[in-house]
Every structure is written in structure tokens, then in C-alpha cells.
Amino acid sequence: MIRDVAIGQYLPGHSFLHKMDARVKIVCTLAFIIAIFLCKNFWSLGLMVFAALVMTLLSRVPFGQLLRSLRPVAFILLFTAILNLFYTKAGNVLWHWKIFTLTDRGIYTAVFMAVRILSLISVSALLTFTTTPTALTDGIEKLLSPLKLVKVPVHSLAMMMTLALRFIPTLIEEIDRIMSAQKARGADLETGGFIRRAKALLPILIPLFVSAFRRAYDLAYAMECRCYRGGEGRTRMKQMRMGVRDGVAIALFAALTAGIFLLNHFFAHLI
């Protein structure tokens, strides 16, 4: 059923990662992603994988849950790995058949790439697992607030994002309901060619748009009734404060980055 699609995969908890400031988490995730692309050999990559493992343990997100969030990217992962496997021409040839050449360098690169993507995705997943969508958008808003100086409507953008996230489950439920209603009137959504199927979507899309607009109006009125006038002078119920925890995290990340540079430097080769 369409309802089972997981969007916004926040898992409530009280771990170290859950309690961290969203801004710090976002910055650290970005730093991690950049750092992982700076890794030049298996030693520095190993350090990053180790860091990712430690973070997973700290977050107390079950491994199974994390693995499931990797499923959608499994194809990309496999694709990059295979591409790297056969397109690397350098190194000692191990096996050759028609246009396919397998070299030891190819195997290294394929594994390297796969591990890189895997840790990248799992760390980003950790961010969404341990941060509520609201905290996430609040954090982004705070981080982008310097852009206000060049007249970027940061608050409106963040509000739009929060609302969009908020309404995804509502709209999914709505689609579900409309689909059932039209199926009850004999709508056939599963058979037929492309054009037929696209046409069959109309009875679902039109009511969906109508109700989305209706909800938008209702929400806009409700916000105006509460005197919403944009971000100016607006305070927050949940103030973001950085604590010792965040300081520790930043220090660890700095150390991690330094570690990568050192490892890159001392082990110049891929392995």
C-alpha cells in the first residue's frame, strides 16, 4: 500500500546524536560528506567508516533500520561498482574477455567507491533518523540566515519547507482515500498502455489538487487568524542552544579531518 512509503524517517530517542543541536548536526554531516571525498586511500576511508560506525552506535538506531534506508540506493551502488570494476584500465590485468577487462586496480576502485557511497548515505540517513523534520528546517533556516543580508527570504523558504514536510503524510493519506473511492467506481489503474494509465490518473490527480488548494487556503486563513506576518520579530518555542555535547562533536570532527589529511599524506597510494 502507498501508506507504507516511509518519508521523514525520524526515530524518536534520547541518544547523544538526538540531543545534539540540529545546526551542528547539519554542518557535521556536510563536513563528513566533504571529508569522505577527500579520502585518497583505504586508511583514511577506513577512519571515516570507523567514525560512521561509532556514530551509528551512538545514535542507537538499529542497524536493520539503517540498512533498510540504504535499499533505495542499492541499484546506484551496484551500478557504480560495476562501472568502476570494468572501466578501470590501469593496474595488473587479472581477467579478460571480449570488451571486459578486470584489473586489480579496478577491484580496489569499485570497493572504494561502494564503501564511500555507503558511508555517505548512512551518515545522511543518521541525520534524518535523529533529527525531527522541524528541527532540521529550523537548523537550515538558522544556518542560512546570513543570506537575509542579500534579501533572500530565508524564513519564508524554511516555512515552505516545514509545511511541505508536514503535509506529505496528509496528502499520501488523501491519495489513498481518493484511489479507493475511484476504484470503488470501477477505475482501472493497473492495466493498459502508458497513455491509458496516464489518463487513468486524472480521476485521482484532480481531486487531489482540489483538496490541496482547499487545505492551503484553510491553512493560510488559520495562520492569518493567528497574526502570522512572516519571520520578523518571531521567537521560537524551541530555542536552539549549543551545549558541551556540540562542542565535543565539533572537536571530534576537527580531529577526524586532521586524521584524514595525515593518513592521506602518510599512505600516498590507494592501498
Binding site: 507504507d4 536493520g64 482515500r177 481518493i178 479507493s180 473511492a181 475511484q182 470501477g186 481531486p207 482540489v210
Partner: protein, 287 residues
């Protein structure tokens, strides 16, 4: 006319690895042709889940649904046939309107049944007549209608399929008293004129008491009470214990009993209430 039978139907929501919720648990019932079954229960009691099995929208986790003795989940054709024989009208059906004109929207169901053009036209006009939508409205956009008209147009969309069993999930929700009355009387008319079976989910005990021949009370996904309206409403105390509303008349007699008066508590219509009142306090009741 069709007879609907449900055999120990259970439905669990939730994908693998996720906490599962049993929405409907071991429900069995048999609705004879021409009956009007009232379904009562709290929000979340499994009513809506249950009725979506009747036309094969949901597949049961276990158990079966039989239409004239045939399992509607036997194969795809059987399920599709059940779609058309059992018309299901959801809560707030006006949110399913989508066509350019009311006429086309009502014709959506019959068109999906692949009926000939003149038959479609006959059914649309008949359904519109049933729900008292004037011809002038048929060429309007459904989005230009009033709330009550939209509701009736949407119900007409289900009626136009001329289902042998009509299932309505709270068709009067959110309407004013006059709108409610119109909808309920058109449902009763449809049943009388076509001899169809009607299954009506409602929160209003008065409506069920007045219209239904049988009543089904759902509680936490299970059948709490099932029988004729007399049988079910004579259990006023159990209904109250489940946190359900009982007709106002029943409530009065229940509290009279509480105060120690020797009254019957299986009263649920105004007429019965009046008779019981006269028996107790009327002329010659106490010599």
C-alpha cells in the same frame, strides 16, 4: 439480488517488520438480500476497514467474503465483478468528484462498466433523479455545486452503477439536519424501489434505530453485537458500557431504571417510548 456473507475475516495493517495493527478480528456475518444493515462503532473500531472488504478493495489477511456463495477473492475477474455488484460510497464522497460536468462524473462508474451509451445515459438520469439533482445542474461543473448538492452528486455516482448491495460510510457526516434527512430518505427510497441490500455506517443511533432491519456493533475490531435492531438496542447498557451513544429515548428509560422505576430499557423509538410511558403512568396504570 445478492446475499453477502463474511466468514471469520481478519485484517491486519502494517508492512513486515513494522508493528502490526489488527483492524478487524474474526468477523463473521451474513446479510440477506434486501436487508438494511446498520453498522455502529467508535472511530477506529474497524468499521471502515471491514466495509472495504465487501467490494474487494482490501484483501483480508485471513477469512473470506462470499457474494451469493462465491468468494470474491477467487480471481481478478471475481473481484472486479464484486466492485460493480457492491457499490461503496466513502465518507465525504464529494472529494472524489473530478469531471468537467456533473453528468460526466456520475457517468464515470457506468462507463467503467463498459455499458452501451444509451444505457449509461439512462442510468445517469435515473441516479440524478434519485438524489433529486435537477437536470439543469447536470451540465454544471461539480465544483460549482453547493456542499449538499456535491454530496448528492457523488452518491449518484455510486447509485448509477446500480449496485445490488449499496454500502455507505457515514453518508450524512458534516451535513445540516435537512441535508441528512434528504440523504437518508433517498437511501431508503433506493432500497424500496430496487430491493437492494443497504449497509449503512452511521454514528447516529436514532438513524439506525429508525431505518435498519439489522444492526452490527463493532468494538476494537470485533463484533460486539449483531442481530436485529430490537436485539441490539435492547442491550442499551452494554452499548453505553462500550462508550457508544444510545438513542435519546433509550437513555431516558435507562436512567429511569437507575432511579429504581420498573421500566423496560429495550425501548429505542419514540413510539415504543410513548407506549412504555403510558403503560407506567397512563390512565389506569396504577389503580
Amino acid at each position: 439480488m445478492a446475499e453477502l456473507e463474511v466468514r471469520s475475516l481478519t485484517h491486519r495493517y502494517g508492512a513486515k517488520h513494522m508493528p502490526q495493527v489488527t483492524a478487524v478480528k474474526d468477523v463473521s456475518l451474513r446479510v440477506q438480500a434486501g436487508e438494511l444493515l446498520g453498522v455502529i462503532g467508535h472511530t477506529g473500531s474497524g468499521k471502515s476497514t471491514l466495509i472495504q472488504h465487501f467490494n474487494g478493495l482490501l484483501t483480508p489477511t485471513s477469512g473470506e467474503v462470499l457474494l451469493d456463495g462465491e468468494n470474491i477473492f477467487r480471481d481478478k475477474q471475481a473481484t472486479r465483478a464484486a466492485r460493480f455488484r457492491v457499490g461503496l460510497c466513502f465518507q465525504y464522497p464529494e472529494y472524489q468528484l473530478f469531471e468537467e460536468t456533473v453528468y460526466k462524473d456520475i457517468a464515470f462508474g457506468p462507463r467503467n462498466m463498459q455499458l452501451p451509451q444509451d444505457e449509461i445515459d439512462r442510468r445517469v438520469r435515473r441516479a440524478a433523479q434519485f438524489v433529486e439533482l435537477p437536470d439543469a445542474l447536470l451540465e454544471k461543473s461539480p465544483f460549482d455545486l453547493s456542499g449538499g448538492e456535491k454530496r448528492r452528486a457523488a452518491i449518484a455516482g455510486v447509485l448509477a452503477m446500480e449496485p445490488e448491495i449499496l454500502v455507505l460510510d457515514e453518508p450524512t457526516a458534516g451535513l445540516d439536519p435537512k441535508g441528512r434527512e434528504t440523504i437518508l430518505s433517498l437511501v431508503a427510497d433506493y432500497r424500496r424501489q430496487t430491493g437492494s441490500t443497504v449497509i449503512l455506517v452511521s454514528h447516529s443511533m436514532e438513524d439506525i434505530a429508525r431505518l435498519a432491519t439489522k444492526a452490527l456493533v463493532m468494538n476494537r475490531g470485533e463484533v460486539a453485537l449483531y442481530g436485529t435492531v430490537d436485539e441490539v438496542f435492547s442491550q442499551g447498557e452494554r452499548l453505553v458500557a462500550m462508550g457508544l451513544d444510545v438513542p435519546a429515548v433509550t437513555r431516558i428509560f435507562l436512567s429511569l431504571r437507575e432511579r429504581g422505576l420498573p421500566v423496560r430499557t429495550d425501548v429505542y423509538t419514540l413510539e415504543q417510548g410513548a407506549a412504555e410511558y403510558l403503560r407506567l403512568f397512563g390512565k389506569g396504570a396504577r389503580a
